[in-house]
């Protein structure tokens, strides 16, 4: 009899509710403490990642009328735009930040989120591949496997799809900046 009472549905349910309630409280308290720190760190990381893309910039200002566009300022002049780029890679969406000069040349990029194959596709964030983009304009951003075509982008070994996706995202950002900066003049 006592055993039946112990296992009644209410007791069992109460047991679970209590466990979930305690768990909720713990997570709530931790979140309350960490959320402001996390937001602050995310902001710092964002500023730093932009700073690493355009080292000579003095400050970054949000561009009016464009979502998540930043203009890198130096001496009151815009020397570069940092814009988000996105495309579909081998393992899903690749999200990146692309720094472009106002006249439509690539400065650098950094990959924020990706799901590419470790050791192959994720080499896209390494200098060996990334440095190829520096100073290139939109029409040069084509992936090739021919080493003699130095003005284009050499595909990464074993990661043609990732190479193409990254190049496509960079090209898209360059075109957007060119259209935006061109329209402003």
């Amino acid at each position: 009899m006592a055993n039946e009472e112990k296992n009644s549905i209410f007791k069992v349910a109460f047991n679970l509710i209590a466990a979930c309630f305690i768990s909720g409280c713990v997570i709530g308290v931790v979140y309350f403490i960490t959320a402001p720190v996390a937001a602050q760190k995310a902001e710092i990381m964002k500023q730093e990642s932009m700073k690493s893309l355009v080292p000579e910039a003095e400050s970054f200002q949000e561009v009016q009328g464009k979502d998540k566009w930043f203009a890198a300022q130096k001496g009151g002049k815009t020397i570069a735009y940092v814009v988000p780029g996105e495309s579909k890679g081998y393992g899903g969406a690749i999200k990146m930040l692309v720094a472009v000069t106002p006249d439509g040349k690539v400065i650098d990029y950094s990959i924020l989120v990706h799901n590419e194959t470790p050791g192959l596709g994720d080499n896209a964030s390494k200098p060996a591949f990334r440095d190829q983009f520096k100073g290139k304009s939109s029409e040069q951003l084509v992936v090739v496997k021919d080493k003699s075509k130095a003005e284009n982008i050499q595909a990464m070994t074993g990661a043609t799809i990732s190479s193409r996706a990254v190049t496509k995202a960079v090209k898209g950002s360059v075109d957007e900046v060119a259209a935006f900066a061109g329209g402003k003049k």
Binding site: K6, L16, V30, A35, K41, G119, L120
Partner: protein
Amino acid sequence: MKYWKIFSKGILDENPIFILALSLCPALAVTTTVINGLTMGLTVMFVITSNNVVVSIVRRWVNPKVRVPVYITSIATIVTVAQLVLQAYFPVLYKALGIYLALVVVFAIILARAEVFASKNGVIPSFLDGFGMGFGFLVAMVSISIIRELIGAGTLCGVPVFGDGYDPMLMMVLPPGAFMLIGYMVAGVKTWNKKREEKRLKEGEA
């Protein structure tokens, strides 16, 4: 001596990856570089140890009918806390671990230790059991990732070791290489354990 045995069984005799063959999925997925393997191993060690402690403290009040949901809730809470803390104080590490951090919740080894050991033992043995199992997991993860990174990329913690002349064997950083390597390592550890067992029996007879 008894406590040492509880701790050390997770390293060789009942190593989660090499002997129990649990949580092989993350062992394949994140062991491409030593840093990833190490961070994952440490996270799992932390979660399994704290979960064992929590489970062994609350085991008296948990109704046996709902013990598994309660354990899962406890694991999920600890993982979420670890996630929030990592996100706030170590954002770079948090980014590197990505989705695998959240997946720690469903690692079979953690629930298995809660069910098999912590729910039947006191706080100190449970702590040691979790710590030992976590340590065994860590050792396995790190040793797999050292071999994979060394052969597959020619680097160790991102530092090239073989020089320019080395042509990395790409297969090792891809899943098939991991399957083969883990297979060989399981065989190796099993053979070694058997040898040790035989030696122990001989000494016992003598």
